[in-house]
Amino acid sequence: MQEEMIFSGFGGQGALFAGMVLAYAGMDSGKNVTWIPSYGPEMRGGTAHTTVIISDEEIGSPIVQRPSAALVLNNPSMEKYEPLVKEGGVLVYNSSLISITPRRTDIRYVPVPASDVANELGNVKMANMVALGALVTATGVLSLEAVIQALRDHLPESKHEMLEPNVQALRRGAELAEPVVA
């Protein structure tokens, strides 16, 4: 098994963090993982993205051109990654902000009103966790519980008051993706 995922959104949307939570979960589950951000000046004010690979084998390239799954939080990310997802792959997108209608027929779309749900849960910044919950469920790359555990284990002390809301966001995202998976 090797899942190659891209997480993408505006600077403040937490795409990189979502990817890191998944990477920790993968590591704690005994998998090989890599996490690599896009870096450099071109990201300034624009979109930030990260590539996360979770694999049973040694990972060659931590960079991929055609991810098997993508989590996109805004329109520009949708524009950029929709065409790149591998045939048969999964695309989780934040339908609260993304207005583009899906254009491909050979991939699975998982629309999640992530920003709205996060807002409901009390903080729009948790849209990334809502979407991550959905991604985990839709891809089955890891169990949701593993991801929640990773969050518990690795969230720094200073942010522990954010823990339970985030766990909730993950669960809500997972629920929202279930119909698609089913």
Partner: protein
């Protein structure tokens, strides 16, 4: 002849600025200073003979934002590159635009020497108390106690010395003709900045030697403040340590006026 009300354009993007969006973060005053430089170049009518030398720093792509011939210098070496450009074509107007890391840290020798020689170039020095481009490390001008990514416990002046005041230091050099410090944190300081830019270029146009305008400039992204808070931070924290003013106005410059 009768009197009529006519709608006129009283403020617009200067022609010397290219019509492209910059990559600067929202509210970053790099853009504001670009605009002022563009306005002055328009007003002096020197666009077709002006050459810009970009630094390495957030303004590395500056040549994309001006309708001028432009070169990209190595980090800190813009004054040397400008020296080369100017010495072989003294009729051109050559300016560098440099950040505090570029000019005051790695490029210290080159700026001191351009000033010492009285090199007939104009330098715009953007002091934002941080290394913007590389993501917020300590600059030579970071304030005492300022938390940056390479002074995570706050700048310790025991270890790193006090922040350097370049305008004051360069003004000491006999070759420097016009050395001033300005800010862009409100309308008044913006207007004064523009005047200084104009004087600096006029010094060069008159062959009167080295001119430098230091600007206190914002970096909302790496300061972790909103654009407006950033302007306030300049006013509250930077201006007291970096007093605005004219540090060297040689007689030859006074005569220009």
């Amino acid at each position: 002849m009768e009197e009529q009300w006519v709608e006129q354009v009283v403020y617009q993007r200067p022609k010397s600025l290219s019509k492209v969006p910059t990559h600067y973060c929202p509210g970053c005053t790099h853009g504001l200073i670009h605009k002022l430089i563009g306005e002055v170049i328009d007003e002096l009518g020197i666009r077709e003979r002006t050459i810009a030398v970009a630094p390495v720093g957030c303004s590395v792509l500056l040549y994309n934002y001006f309708e001028l011939d432009g070169a990209e210098a190595a980090h800190g070496r813009a004054p040397a590159m400008a020296t080369g450009l100017k010495r072989v074509q003294p009729d051109k107007i050559v300016f560098t635009y440099q950040g505090d890391g570029d000019l005051a840290s790695i490029g210290m020798a080159e700026i001191v020497w351009a000033a010492t020689r009285g090199e007939n170039i104009t330098v715009f020095f953007i002091n934002n108390a941080i290394y913007g481009m590389t993501g917020g490390q300590m600059a030579p001008t970071s304030l005492p106690g300022q938390v940056t990514r390479s002074s995570p416990m706050g700048r310790d002046v025991e270890m790193t010395g006090m922040p350097i005041r370049m305008a004051e230091m360069l003004a000491e050099l006999p070759g420097a003709s016009y050395v001033v410090r300005r800010s862009v944190h409100d309308i008044r300081t913006i207007k004064e900045s523009k005047k200084a830019i104009r004087t600096a270029f006029r010094v060069q146009m008159a062959g009167a030697g080295f001119s430098l305008v230091e600007f206190l400039s914002s970096c909302p992204t790496n300061w972790g403040l909103t654009p407006y808070q950033s302007l306030d931070w300049i006013k509250q924290n930077m201006v007291p340590y970096y007093p605005l003013g004219d540090y060297k106005v040689a007689d030859i410059v006074k005569d220009l006026k």
